[in-house]
């Protein structure tokens, strides 16, 4: 080809026509993907194709991390060891108490004729990598649909809620963090049980409580936990701590900023709760209907209007 006669006139399809074709194709794909989940089959196929490469490319980072851990000084390790031992003693005490309380609670619930609380089964997963998208906060975990993970499952770490599984591939799954702008979950303030919905904040690594009146009883430093009203997240999982409250007289709602508690540790181990998605809420349900996986801002507004 390099040495053949130059194709003076035959240049194939013109560059502009190609640009128009491929841009149009991309635009159509974007619109379809933004509105419906019709492209998941293609996405799954591509993900299976990419999976071996992704896993192999994680290896250099893990080697570096392992090496870094290897040369960690004895001082650090001793300190950590002491802290862990202290924590273990504290936790042993608490675990004993928890065992007693659990028994007591069961008995009381039986006495009061309440339904017993069920702890959902869970799956330990490792976070593989963070998505490099400046617009969304997503991580990819190393378990997928073959391990029973389903879209919508809450993801927690040792201190609180991290996010929600929003897309499941055969080998991996995508977890949208709570700090993502399009993520929401029903919460309550631990101090007084005031219920609200937490959305991903517009500032990085924050959450926002929306739709609370400006005179709502919220204080800086309040602990915010899941309310469990959606049937997806179990109740009383720590979500965040209120850091700032802007009460604007002109505005109907207060602007309440939370700092998420989870996801601060360096450990990449997470727990996915394998809960059954709740049955579709009837149309009369209020604002705190189940936050569906992967729903867009528009979807959220729609749900709020319902």
């Amino acid at each position: 080809m390099e040495y053949g006669p130059p194709p003076l006139f035959n240049q194939g399809v013109s560059a502009r026509a190609r640009l128009a074709f491929f841009s149009l194709a991309a635009a159509i794909l974007i619109v379809i993907d933004a509105q419906v989940n019709a492209l998941d089959v293609i996405r799954n196929g591509v993900e299976i194709l990419l999976y071996p490469f992704q896993r192999v490319l994680l290896w250099p980072r893990d080697v570096v991390a392992d090496f870094g851990g290897y040369i960690a000084s004895i001082g650090d390790l001793n300190e950590e060891n002491a802290q862990l031992r202290k924590a273990a003693v504290e936790q042993a005490q608490r675990a004993q108490m928890a065992g007693q309380l659990l028994l007591e609670n069961e008995q009381l619930r039986k006495l009061a004729g309440l339904r017993e609380r069920i702890t959902p089964p869970s799956q330990l997963v490792t976070a593989l990598y963070e998505s490099r998208d400046p617009f969304s906060h997503k991580i990819v975990i190393d378990r997928g649909s073959k391990d029973g993970i389903r879209a919508g499952g809450p993801v927690i770490d040792e201190v609180g809620v991290v996010g929600q599984v929003t897309r499941v591939f055969p080998m991996t799954a995508e977890v949208t963090l709570l700090t993502d702008k399009e993520q929401s979950l029903p919460v309550q303030i631990a101090r007084n049980g005031l219920r609200a919905i937490a959305f991903g904040g517009s500032e990085p690594i924050t959450l926002e409580l929306r739709f609370l009146p400006s005179n709502a009883d919220v204080q800086s430093g309040d602990r915010v936990v899941t309310s469990g009203l959606d049937g997806m997240y179990p109740a009383d999982l720590p979500v965040g701590i209120v850091t700032r409250i802007d009460r604007d007289v002109k505005d109907q709602f207060a602007r309440i900023i939370l700092k998420p508690v989870a996801g601060m540790s360096k450990s990449r181990l997470l727990l996915v709760l394998l809960v059954d998605p709740p049955p579709l809420a009837p149309a009369t349900t209020g604002r705190e209907s189940a936050p569906n996986a992967n729903r867009s801002e528009r979807g959220a507004n729609k749900a709020a209007r319902r």
Binding site: I28, P134, S136
Partner: protein
């Protein structure tokens, strides 16, 4: 295509070219500039093009985490081959790799595909112009092209998902992408710069 749209695209490209030329032309022509294209390059091997594109793509797959300033290696390599071999590397390749990138990043299906297609079109249209300039001035063009691609991707996100603060930090990756252009230029052209026949009698 609609004539008004065509006119509009022409005008946009015209202004991009004018601006880039103005910056790139600050240096007076020198002897080295004329000598630059003296060396006749050997024909490129298609396998090499593919291999470099795949390697660049794999570099993008590395777990960079939230370091969004890391340059998009694939985009820069794509621009390079679009400029050097516009008849061999076209928008189709850009589109397909863009879709793969979308799946990896969990982005909207088609977001990177659109960005890479635009990038490829820009590089193919400007390839004669870019090659004429010395390497240091080519950076300006490359930066502009990468920036346009990133802004296209950002526009898609803003349109679909609403604004979020701090996304412009990602634009730094365009600057870093342009910064690795000279390195890329010397590495990727090295196989074509080899002499046609090895001279065994030469001492070195």
């Amino acid at each position: 295509m609609n004539p008004s749209v065509k006119q509009w695209i022409d005008r946009l490209w015209g202004s991009v070219r004018l601006a880039s030329d103005a910056v790139a032309d600050l240096r007076p022509p020198t002897l080295s500039r004329q000598l630059q294209h003296e060396q006749v390059l050997r024909p490129v091997r298609p396998g090499f093009i593919w291999a470099t594109l795949v390697v660049a793509f794999l570099l993008n797959l590395l777990p960079w985490g939230r370091a969004i300033w890391v340059p998009d290696f694939f985009a820069v390599t794509l621009v390079f081959w679009n400029v050097q071999q516009p008849r061999k590397v076209g928008m189709g390749i850009a589109f397909v790799f863009g879709l793969l990138m979308d799946v990896h990043n969990g982005a909207l299906f088609g977001e990177h595909a659109l960005a890479y297609t635009l990038l490829s079109y820009g590089a193919i249209t400007l390839h004669r112009r870019i090659l004429w300039f010395p390497l240091s001035s080519q950076l300006v063009y490359v930066f502009g092209l990468l920036l346009i691609a990133q802004l296209a991707s950002a526009a898609v996100r803003l349109w679909v998902g609403g604004a979020s603060t701090g996304w412009w930090v990602g634009l730094l990756s365009s600057a870093l992408g342009a910064a690795i252009w000279p390195l890329l230029h010397s590495v990727l052209l090295a196989p074509q710069r080899r002499p046609a026949k090895r001279d065994d009698t030469r001492p070195i």
